[in-house]
Symmetry: C2
DNA sequence: AGCTGATATTAAATCGAACCAATACACTCG
DNA sequence: CGAGTGTATTGGTTCGATTTAATATCAGCT
């Protein structure tokens, strides 16, 4: 029965030593099940364990860290906590770390690159043993991570391909996702599809588009270039709603006919839905809309949003596993397979925002 | 120009001492601007600072913590990170802590009381200097916080009134919120309002209802008891969508006439909207819906959700301030004004899900 | 008796910074 | 001239656990 001591002073290893009649060294060996404890008789061990338990001994984490030079902490740097994308990945990381002795330290850069840099500094100062960066949006300078690399801290980037030879990453197979989204619309009968692509510079957007085009080519579908638009370049996740709204409005204004919109991500899709609604076009009756990500609200809105689901929790778990693996093998094998990026399969989630094209599109003005 | 050293070995206080020609003691005094440093001439200080900078000295946080018995960490225990309510509070906390030397340590209980308990243990073990608990939903056992109190760790609960004499809290003025929501619907002309209240045992729900009734009494409006329903008791935040869907369906099935729904929170409101939609009733044309919380998706859905906004970031900031204040005065004045709960003002956010009652309600079957 | 090797335990060094008590020197003043 | 005060610096201890090297005991063997 472990008892929580309510004494004012901390219970130290020395106290346990005194109480059990052995030296601090012996107590330490026993409590840590160190190799040297193999010759210590069971009877002694019992006495020590009993004493430690009775006094409610908890090793002082400061002293232990100082001596062992280990923090037992893994930094998780997130570009924006309010972005559900980040949150879900975080939950995956946490789930994997829970049964270990490692503690995730979460820092939120609030979409500001400067914060991110400062936080990397803080992470180093706090001596994190590994670093996971969730930065789907920010196009940040890779030099920030050089310090990290310098200190032999295993690092992984989630949700973005850094195209750096020194840092590994895990992300969704954007091309497969783009392909699946286009395929879904095509199978519902849509031939005139409008596209709201992500910012030009984003690798994510380029890969998704590549998938879309690959499918179009396979079925010999010609894409109308007047229906292809990009979100503006300087964006963070929270502004993609506004971007989607604006670009969809332009599409509607253009007068080009389309029966579906394939949006860069869920928030962009919601912006498009708002624009359609304001123009008097119903979703999905008058126009289907498909997103990308499957953030939690997508299941709750009416209509539910059809989207390409990124396995975010799984990506978080992969990240944590990656770090743990490297931490475990750090001593025997220091070399990492650098520049690797692991792709995970996306899944189409069909909800209410897409529908078969049955009747001819009503034109309203 | 601060240079990041890339040497294999850490730069220690001793190194700076050797490089500057002074003793470690002197170096320590200067770098910490300790009281005793007042007699040290500027010239010496400059030399030491220069040496420290040149070598890229960073104090070892383990050693410092051990000696000073301070972790410089503040624990933030969150009932569910995926809940936007928690996320926003977290951002408030972080914003306040950013300019300080304190680091927030976030732990996510994933809606499981058992986790919460385990995490409190971990927090104590990691020696957090303060604790903020965001637990709007969970009706957890207060005994968990007893250990905390025992150790003189300043603690604050956000989003729930614990009704405990030993722990303070900050939360929104739920009664004022309920009042404002009802007032809004009334002013739009709604007289037949349906209510989806929260679980009976939740203090939040009771207070909101009190506000609703107070307004109704003031304008002599009789509430139809057939239109008053409760969400089931055993719930977490993620299931309130399903709850809202189910209860709203029951209301629709009941055949009672109503022109608006006042929901316990935003997710419940979204559940209700789904139910209405499935029954062929449009929002807000056929029925207005109002929520409570103003979680981020509420602004993005179509129609946007009218709701009572909780000042979540501000509550987070208040919490951080509270802890910082107590930490600052810990030594001179250990006594806390226990059992206090600070109320913050909610704000009505009118969006597209509520509308004036103009035409008579179409009845569809 | 002397040696080996397994068993059992501990003294002492270490991690790096903080800080109290001590020292050394230069002054001023009665 | 010795006591007192302010200025400048440092030696040495402390925080609490880990770990290496060392010591002590005893059984078994030649």
């Amino acid at each position: 029965m472990t008892k929580i001591s309510s004494n004012r002073r901390r219970v130290t290893l020395m106290d346990v030593a005194r109480a059990s009649g052995f030296s601090p060294s012996t107590v330490s060996l026993v409590l840590n099940e160190a190799p040297l404890a193999r010759y210590i008789p069971e009877k002694t061990k019992q006495k020590i364990l009993e004493a430690a338990d009775r006094l409610g001994y908890r090793p002082d984490i400061f002293a232990r860290s100082l001596r062992s030079q280990r923090s037992q902490m893994i930094g998780v740097l997130v570009i924006d906590l309010a972005d559900p994308f980040c949150t879900l990945i975080l939950q995956g990381v946490e789930r994997k770390l829970l049964p270990t002795t490692y503690l995730p330290i979460v820092m939120d850069a609030h979409n500001q690159p400067a914060q991110l840099e400062r936080y990397v500094e803080m992470m180093i100062q706090r001596r994190v043993e590994g670093l996971i960066t969730v930065a789907n949006w920010l196009l940040f300078d890779i030099t920030v991570l050089e310090d990290i690399d310098d200190r032999q801290i295993p690092t992984l980037v989630v949700g973005r391909d850094l195209e750096s030879p020194t840092v590994n990453s895990v992300l969704v197979d954007n091309e497969a996702g783009g392909y699946a989204a286009m395929e879904h619309l095509y199978q519902l009968g849509h031939r005139e599809v409008a596209f709201v692509r992500g910012p030009r510079r984003m690798a994510d957007s380029r890969m998704r588009w590549k998938g879309v085009r690959r499918f179009a080519t396979e079925v010999s579908l010609r894409l109308n270039s007047a229906l292809i638009r990009d979100l503006p370049g300087t964006m963070d996740s929270s502004s993609s709603f506004d971007g989607g709204l604006k670009v969809a409005n332009e599409l509607i204004q253009s007068g080009e006919k389309f029966t579906a919109i394939l949006a860069f991500d869920d928030l962009t899709a919601y912006g498009a839905i708002r624009a359609l609604s304001e123009a008097g076009r119903r979703v999905p009756d008058d126009c289907s809309v498909i997103g990308f990500d499957d953030v939690p609200p997508s299941a709750l809105s009416t209509p539910g949003l059809t989207t390409i689901q990124q396995p975010m929790r799984e990506m978080g778990e992969y990240a944590a596993d990656y770090i743990l693996k490297h931490l475990a093998h750090r001593l025997e094998d220091g070399s990492q397979p650098y520049g690797d990026s692991h792709l995970m399969k996306p899944t189409l989630i069909a909800r209410g925002s897409t529908a078969p094209i049955t009747k001819p599109v009503r034109k309203r003005k």
